[in-house]
């Protein structure tokens, strides 16, 4: 299903933002909110894993039903999950398309990666000493 990716802040994202290695942050940053009708069309329930892809790449997220999201739109909190698939093109403004990226949404059985795994995929090395 083709959708427009919208991103933004949420309170749970803000409270966990300085704890990016935590399970709490992973849960809020990897949640993807969809219109309930779109979830019905995809044949999925709350908590199902979905694969969101763009020409930049793909990321696996956890689907959440949200009445406030219109059909054809998906909402993901700002952070490394959404940014994993957003293009770095800025059209000469310095600002990437954080709210207008067209994405493909499909169901998947793949696991949701951690923030550390996402960073390691782009050449990083996670630091997880307590």
């Amino acid at each position: 299903m083709k959708c427009i990716l919208n991103t933004g802040r949420t309170v749970p994202q803000g409270t966990a933002v300085e704890h990016k290695g935590s399970d709490a942050y992973r849960a809020v940053a990897s949640a993807c909110f969809l219109n309930p009708v779109d979830m019905m069309v995809l044949g999925i329930e709350d908590g199902a894993r979905i694969r969101i892809s763009t020409p930049t790449g793909y990321v696996v997220l956890s689907a959440r039903s949200a009445e406030g999201v219109t059909r054809g739109e998906v909402f993901v909190t700002i952070g490394p999950y959404a940014n994993h698939i957003i293009s770095s093109e800025t059209h000469g403004t310095g600002m990437p398309d954080f709210k207008s990226q067209t994405v493909d949404v499909e169901t998947t059985e793949e696991p949701i990666r951690s923030v550390g795994e996402l960073m390691e995929e782009i050449g990083g090395l996670r630091y997880d000493r307590k």
Partner: protein, 429 residues
């Protein structure tokens, strides 16, 4: 110990009425703050000591070693990028600008991926704004456009708008009309008197339609504009024209969606149009605690608010070219110093990936996503928690952040001064 009149450094509201209970080096209770403030003060876990990435993992290093290696990295670089600056005080930001000038670096702040487009629009058509005190005491019509204060600035409505008692608005909840424009029916929309659910990417068209209606040209408006009925647009335009004092607050829903800075320009021009009928103001909902301060400090030191390139020996500014995401996407920089921010989490993947290919140094109190992409991470104080300093509220009012506890960390301004000294042969900025 109770510390009162504490400023929360988390978001651009910089609420200055917090009361904290402090036990030793810990904050154990936060009064008056929102849940973001509580998390900021009470769950403040830090990186204990500087770390360096090795072939197989991470090793602890001393501050002296970390500072020396950082200076060496910056000295050897041809095109260093200094990025971040929004979660620290003006004192650290100004040392950052001095380093950029000294070594011919590009220095950019986080407004590049939040309200950078708002600044571009303001540079085109100006900023009819005011302080939040004026809004609190006078505004009877509030518009939140492409922003969700309940989630992102939780006390904005109780301190300045919907629920705030003002001098000329004594019964705020009855006397203030709240209009919300967004693609999502978000929590803020739930308390709005009028909610305009615009189709994604349709903000520019809706702003243009409102401008036409305010001008008296409603006959040219089609039945629906980007999903919003003409009748509702006319009703909203009338509400605005009949306001005693109107205030538009806009967020990243305008700066990041299609049209970017042109959306903001259109919103400012709508404000201009409304001022032919009544008093109307417009202001961005700035996100990071001191992101406005980074624009102020950069501007009074270099003439430009963000994306400043010193490669030519003078300050040069060309957003789209000298902005951090573009420099990283083009793989142009060969070293990076990241201060008080997390581009690893907040930049698109390709831009963040370049940080792992070059020597990147992070100076930040917390382990974040950029830590994984860095070569060295130096922990420091957090402005407003264990360091005092100046920060600018979202309406441009400078506020002194307090030091409420001592945790034994070095101030980031001090770390940056030591780096500057090494780069300048022992001479301070």
């Amino acid at each position: 110990m109770i510390v009162s009149d504490v400023v929360c450094p988390f978001c651009g509201c910089l609420c200055d009425d917090l009361e904290l209970e402090v036990e030793g080096d810990r904050v154990v209770r936060v009064q008056n703050g929102c849940s973001l403030a509580e998390a900021t003060f009470m769950h403040d876990t830090r990186l204990p000591a500087p770390i360096r990435r090795t072939e197989s993992g991470w090793e602890d290093i001393s501050y002296e070693e970390a500072i020396k290696e950082t200076a060496d990295i910056l000295k050897e670089a041809d095109r260093p990028l200094l990025y971040g600056w929004s979660s620290t005080h003006g004192e650290a930001q100004s040392v950052g600008v001095h380093i950029a000038e000294l070594i011919g670096a590009v220095i950019d702040n986080t407004s590049t991926v939040c309200h950078g487009p708002s600044i571009l629009a303001i540079q085109e058509v100006g900023h009819p704004g005011c302080t939040l005190g004026q809004v609190k005491n006078r505004a009877d019509v509030i518009i939140y456009w492409g922003c969700n204060p309940i989630e992102a600035h939780p006390r904005h409505m109780s301190r300045y708008t919907t629920y705030a008692t003002g001098f000329f608005v004594p019964d705020a909840q009855r006397e203030r009309t709240v209009i919300v424009v967004d693609t999502r029916r978000n929590d803020t929309a739930g308390i709005a008197d009028e909610f305009l659910q615009v189709e994604p990417g349709g903000d520019y068209a809706v702003l243009s339609a409102l401008r036409a209606i305010v001008r008296g040209k409603d006959s040219v408006i089609p039945k629906k504009v980007a999903g919003i009925a003409k009748e509702q647009l006319i009703r909203v335009a009338e509400l605005c024209k009949n306001a005693k004092f109107g205030a538009i607050f806009f967020g990243l829903g305008l700066t990041m969606s299609r049209g970017k800075y042109k959306n903001i320009r259109n919103a400012i021009e709508l404000t201009d149009e409304l001022n032919r009928h009544t008093k109307f103001v417009i202001s961005p909902m700035r996100g990071h605690g001191n992101v406005y301060g980074s624009n102020e400090v950069f501007t009074w030191m270099t003439g430009y608010p963000f994306a400043v390139d010193f490669a030519r020996g003078i300050a040069f500014y060309n957003p789209g070219e000298t902005t951090a995401v573009d420099i990283l996407r083009r793989e142009e920089c060969d070293a990076a110093l990241i201060v008080a921010s997390d581009p690893g989490a907040n930049f698109p993947r390709d831009a963040a990936a370049h940080l792992a290919k070059i020597p990147t140094v992070v100076i930040d109190p917390h382990v974040n996503a950029t830590t994984a992409l860095s070569h060295i991470h130096i922990p420091c104080t957090a402005a407003g928690i264990d360091a005092a300093g100046t920060a600018y509220r979202m309406d441009g009012v400078p506020i002194r952040l307090k030091k409420v506890i001592e945790r034994g960390y070095h101030d980031d301004a001090e770390i940056l001064k030591k780096i500057y000294d090494r780069l300048n042969g022992g001479m301070g900025p």
